[in-house]
Symmetry: C2
Subunit: 177 residues, 2 copies
DNA sequence: TAGGAATAATTCATTAATGAAATATTAAAA
DNA sequence: TTTTAATATTTCATTAATGAATTATTCCTA
């Protein structure tokens, strides 16, 4: 997992952990006519960034016995009206499959960070709500997450951040907007 | 998992699956002074995009009994000199933990798509190599992956793709370059 | 308003991914 | 050159995530 792991093999002195990947993508481009280099590179970059931010956040959250997924669930509730959400909304918000949402909520419930009760308007639904303890928890670890995010994205200006986000956002609007 | 799942609850008529998330991030910004909205939004967007491309590629790869992770492993070998890589290089290239790389390679081996033998220069190491069958397999499913990637990123111009990639790449060079 | 289709959440069995420890080998230090 | 440290991979036990099927409720329509 270290940038120097494979020094002197396929790559000479190299710049960072992703340049080897880029090099492999370029080779592939040479071998496969029609290979969409830019698409492949972005796809791979997204995967790498996702892993990076997950790992870094996990490290920060470990002392709280939380991880990136449970943390995200809490934050989505924190940002909802009445700190309230249904499992399917939470599934959409986090990208976790409904079946996993059930498990995640079992865990948060066990920790007393959320509560869960049947909806009154629609009795198929379930209501998930952040408890007071859950809110305190969120407010406690947030600053550390901010530091972590800053370590990752701190070199990008606000303008650049908006630019990336604007562009990266487009596929989502295209596909289901 | 559908954009209409939670119609008429917390969101009014909405644009796409991500705008609810953005709205929650804005609420959070209001509740938590100091909350780095742009960082949080980009982080969340990356997670969503990663899930999206994983799901879409998995659908394409299902007929070949492969998934996004095993596919990535094959592609990284395809793009390497001699179609050859060590497990630790593969771990770096894919972002999978070494222990998972072992499992993945067991599977690819069982399918005859790669071969595995001890390195002669350094007997701690192991050499993984794409077989002829593996190469054929790659070349067979590639066009379908291209179509999938195009569905996702096709609305971005080459210039825009390079722009996103350039910006998104910076954190990786900063952190370990 | 009865009956079938759709939606929401969950359970259960299975697969995927991880961390900690073990093994083997090489590199570095004393 | 022996000892110690570092690297590479794997094994094993545990946790996390998924898909398929199930249950309960609501929506729709004939």
């Amino acid at each position: 997992m270290n940038r120097d792991d494979d020094l002197g093999r396929h790559s000479g002195g190299h710049e960072d952990s992703f340049s080897d990947v880029e090099h492999r993508i370029e080779i592939t481009r040479q071998r496969l006519p029609g290979y969409p280099l830019e698409h492949a590179r972005l796809a791979r970059l997204i995967t790498h960034m996702q892993k990076l931010q997950t790992d870094i956040c996990n490290a920060v959250l470990k002392p709280y016995e939380l991880n990136y997924v449970t943390y995200t669930a809490l934050m989505m509730m924190y940002g909802s009206e009445e700190q309230t959400l249904t499992p399917s909304e939470l599934s959409n918000a986090t990208g976790e499959k409904p079946t996993n949402v059930t498990r995640i909520c079992d865990e948060l419930l066990r920790k007393g960070l959320i509560e869960r009760y049947p909806s009154v308007e629609d009795r198929r639904r379930v209501v998930l709500r952040l408890t007071a303890q859950g809110e305190r928890q969120v407010e406690q670890f947030q600053p550390k997450i901010w530091k972590a995010l800053d370590k990752i994205y701190g070199q990008l200006s606000q303008a650049e951040l908006r630019q990336v986000t604007g562009l990266l956002r487009r596929p989502l609007s295209n596909l289901d907007g």
